[in-house]
């Protein structure tokens, strides 16, 4: 926690959890997709499902998916902007079991055909927690620069990736490895201090058994 968590964030109202947090989840999902969104299916759960219209949660999510930050006043007109930009979207009310009351699931298709499903919760004060990427359960706050590296579950992957970080003087604050099954796909989630340049990301992505590598800047 720092002073800007208390006097801040600078945001478009009306609610840090229902608006600012929602925009952040949208933008986070866009970064994971890595290409402009062509189609978005948005599933609101819990409090989000009940009150999304009055809080502008729908506009905030779409704003985030269009790359807007929490303080971008275009969020107010994001639904119109999305239509102008050919972003096709639909809202659904659902009940995701055992999820935080302010949870949303985003099923996205990018303009180059890539798809991803991102589930996140707005946990208060504009802070978010990404809880699921596709079928992998994760726990990402976005407070630090985060690398998300899906890869084949084979020996030596962690050392390959962390070696690159070590050589570039990048300090790891948190490391998490998730896998759905032995020998399948695993995901490294690495939170680091400071920033990571695109070159590091490219080096990681070049390993044959790395399926993808995404750097998400701290929010």
């Amino acid at each position: 926690m720092d002073v800007f968590d208390i006097v801040g964030p600078i945001m478009v109202g009306p609610s840090s959890s229902h608006t600012a947090g929602a925009a952040r989840i949208g933008k986070f999902a866009l970064t994971i997709l890595g290409q402009p969104v062509q189609k978005a299916e948005i599933y609101f759960s819990g409090s989000f499902a009940k009150t999304y219209k009055g809080h502008g949660t729908d506009k905030a999510i779409i704003g985030g998916l269009l790359g807007m930050d929490t303080d971008d006043t275009r969020i107010r007109t994001s639904l119109e902007l999305a239509k102008e930009n050919g972003l096709e979207f639909s809202f659904h009310e659902t009940e995701i079991e055992n999820a935080h009351p302010n949870t949303v699931l985003l099923r996205l298709t990018g303009i180059e055909g890539k798809t991803v499903a991102v589930q996140g919760a707005s946990v208060g004060g504009g802070n978010i927690l990404i809880t699921k990427i596709d079928d992998t359960e994760v726990s990402i706050t976005g407070k630090a620069t985060t690398l998300i590296v899906p890869h084949k579950d084979v020996p030596g992957m962690i050392s390959d990736v962390t070696n690159i970080l070590a050589r570039r003087g990048v300090n790891i604050g948190r490391f998490e490895l998730k896998r759905s099954q032995k020998g399948g796909t695993a995901v490294m989630i690495i939170e680091v201090d400071g920033t990571v340049d695109a070159e590091v990301n490219d080096l990681i992505a070049r390993f044959p058994n790395v399926l993808d590598s995404t750097v998400i800047a701290a929010i």
Binding site: I6, G8, V12, T51, I75
Partner: protein
């Protein structure tokens, strides 16, 4: 410095014979690995957004996204400019500014959460009104925002700044305490006075529930922002006069946590109790969301 207690902040400031804001600026620059100039420049951005959010809220004919609120700041400003207020121009201005920022928020305008969006009008209203009244330089107010933040961090650590966890006392109460602390520092009060102002502000609002109609940050939030800035001035005035809080700030914050914990969930932002559960509150809810709620 870990922002564990108001007492810690006061003791350190006394030891170094400096303001609480000086301590916080030095510590935060170090912790965030940036220069003090960069840190101050970043806070200045927040200050500028606060000013803009006041101006935006004074527009005539403002209506919130839900349609439930809007226009109160304009009305209050008209009363102030027309010389019709009971407590004079200064106080009326503060109320009008608090309403303005809160209504800007409800209209999806840009604001600075301080500490939350629901309570975003209190801190800017208190400091910007004082700044205008006394022709204070912008730098003074920007620095004071660090004192306000430090108090907010202590409250967030030891109690809560979220209505869903602690009721409105955690949002408008925290904002009042932050504003009162900053006001006292700007007005030349001692660090002990800052601490007493913080204590008095929270004491005055202890137990206030969070009961927003339709779950939206509008009714009664907008008016509670006006009440919150009034409370900040009450606390600051008393403290600057040398009046002390019998219960120290940290114990008041502890009490706020305990009160919040014992509050029913219906009274913590769920829109199931208090004003939200009144016949009119329910009617307004169905106006916004239809009959299903």
């Amino acid at each position: 410095m870990k922002y564990d207690s108001v007492a810690e902040l006061c003791a350190l400031a006394k030891e170094k014979n400096c303001l609480i804001s000086d301590l916080v600026i030095a510590q935060q620059a170090q912790a965030q690995e940036i220069s003090e100039e960069e840190l101050l420049a970043r806070m200045e951005q927040s200050f500028l957004v606060m000013q803009e959010s006041v101006a935006a809220g004074f527009q005539e004919g403002l209506v919130s996204t839900s349609g439930l609120t809007g226009g109160a700041a304009y009305q209050m400003k008209q009363a102030v400019d027309g010389g019709k207020t009971i407590c004079g121009k200064f106080f009326g201005e503060a109320l009008a500014k608090a309403l303005a920022v809160s209504e800007t928020n409800a209209c999806m305008g840009k604001i600075v959460a301080a500490p939350t969006a629901g309570s975003c009008g209190i801190l800017p209203a208190a400091l910007l009104t004082l700044m205008e009244e006394r022709n204070l330089p912008k730098e003074t107010i920007v620095r004071a925002l660090f004192t306000a933040s430090a108090i907010g961090m202590v409250i967030a650590k030891n109690a809560s700044i979220a209505g869903a966890e602690g009721g409105c006392q955690a949002e408008c109460g925290s904002a009042s305490a932050m504003a009162a602390a900053a006001l006292v520092e700007v007005c030349g009060g001692t660090v002990d006075m800052v601490s007493h102002a913080c204590a008095i502000a929270i004491k005055n609002i202890l137990g206030l529930v969070c009961d927003p109609v339709a779950g939206l940050v509008e009714i009664p939030c907008t008016k509670r922002n006006a009440a919150g800035v009034a409370n900040a001035f009450v606390a600051a005035e008393l403290a600057l006069a040398g009046i002390e809080s019998a219960i120290p700030a940290d114990e008041v914050i502890w009490a706020m946590k305990k009160v919040g914990d014992s509050m029913s969930a219906a009274l913590k932002e769920t829109a199931e109790g208090g004003l939200a559960a009144t016949p009119t509150g329910k009617r307004l809810t169905s106006c916004v969301f239809g009959e299903r709620k």
